[in-house]
């Protein structure tokens, strides 16, 4: 199954990526090469195989419910572009 330009734009939009018009064909070719590689696996019959959720055959280790994380806001906010009164400030977004 080859991806169309529409598929590419849809994927780019969902990932919030800009695809420059001049690179569109190259992107599409690269993605289609990946799709082709994956499609080889479609020929394997997996009807009686349980879907794998994780490559490690282990289960999740659980932690105790204790709140021990200290407040290090200043440290974390040092790398943020814009903060004020403890808030992270971002361009106005109202959906």
């Amino acid at each position: 199954m080859a991806l169309s330009a529409d598929d590419l734009h849809r994927a780019a939009k969902l990932a919030r990526l800009n695809v420059a018009p001049q690179s569109q064909q190259a992107q599409l070719d690269a993605l289609n090469a990946v799709m082709e590689m994956v499609s080889a696996m479609q020929s394997v019959d997996t009807s009686d195989v349980e879907p794998m959720a994780h490559p490690l055959f282990q289960s999740q280790v659980l932690r105790e419910d204790v709140a021990v994380e200290p407040n290090q806001r200043d440290k974390y906010q040092a790398s943020a572009p814009n903060t004020d009164a403890g808030y992270y400030l971002v361009p106005k977004v109202i959906e």
Binding site: Q60, L62, Y76, L89, P91, V93, I94
Partner: protein
Amino acid sequence: MQWETVIGLEIHAQLATQSKIFSAASTAFGAEPNTQACPVDLGMPGILPVVNQEVVRMAVMFALATNAEIGQRSVFERKNYFYPDLPKGYQTSQFEFPIVGKGKVEIVLEDGSTKVVGLTRAHLEEDAGKSVHDLYSEFSAIDLNRAGTPLLEIVSEPDMRSAKEAVAYAKKIHSLVRYLGICDGNMQEGSFRCDANVSVRLKGESEFGTRAEVKNVNSFRFLERAINFEVERQIDLLESGGTVVQETRLYDPTKDETRSMRSKEDAEDYRYFPCPDLLPVVIEEADIQSIRDALPELPDQRLNRYQSQWQLSGDDARLLVQDRSVAEYFEAVANQADPKLASNWMVNEVIVRLDKDSIEIERSPVGPSQLAALIARIADKTINGKIGRQILDALWSGEASDVDSYIADKGLKQVTDTGAIEAWVDEVIANSPDQVQQIKEGKDKVMGFLVGQAMKLSKGKANPAQLSELFKAKILG
């Protein structure tokens, strides 16, 4: 045209843990912005989430309480979308293999009949942060304290057929999570949030109509109003030849209306996939058994017990068991005083006063021991019910604290001196010849007037039943 309403609810219950679902940051409400957001919650590179064991235990409790299937191997997946209060660019949630599968709860409708509502599933997920849009003119302010707070999203089948049924179901789930102690149920603080999927169809139609999802409902009253508004809107639209579009609508309680928030046409592609940072959560049979053994008594069990142990009516018992704190208050009273009287006083007096003053029973100005003492004095006929209410008012306002000393101080003891009672009765008979004549003619209703007059003379301290007997004896011989 006859329309039928179809409603399914999605309830987000914030799990009452100390720490977040994947990090050791605190979940306490009301902290300074971003003081409870650690690198895991902030989505810093290189972080590794680790699941909180309490959220697993709480989800299993919910499953057991709703006769639901337990996903003994559940999988966390990434739900991908972009929003500033979601720092990782995805919400860690569950999709294909939720921790709680199909279940059911029974609700009681207004006419007393019962209905079973199916649960589709309940899954664990993390909450997003909070965006504040009105603090700055050019920016949105982001507080990530809430990011990573554990939620159990409880999804019902589209089984409800009216706003009232939806409210009954929501209250049932609310009552259950509070009983289980897995959620504080505080709707104002957002610990218990309801989204309603609402559609209408012509009666007899088997296909569902197109639904709209109504969000931002933070009380049961608003839930009912929001659904009713939405049903009206959809019916008006369809009857005037329009079509309902699938969208999310926000309820505005000040205008009592819903309005479009976003259209779901192409937005809903979350590209779920299993989270590579988290392994499947496996729950052993032995763990389930120990959780089952530790389950508290649930509202339905308590309801049956009140009816069999104390012969309470279904309506009264249902009102008493709905909230765990109310039930515990009631039991504390019922263990010290006549349970039937205790039930009457709870239903007709205490709960009414709490509603009127909008206070939770935990902050009731009158404690269970005080109420039990009051009821004991009514039961042993030291005072009558009318004086009892007067004393309850005094306890409520803080004017009185000890029932017995208040009765003694104010001289409220019921008068049992037959001489005094006879004198009042004689006086009333002498002053009310017309009414006495009517009683002789068989108009029993007039008795209330005579008893009332005598009660007045006694300053409320006579026993109305005793007065009534005496009037009958004297007038009818």
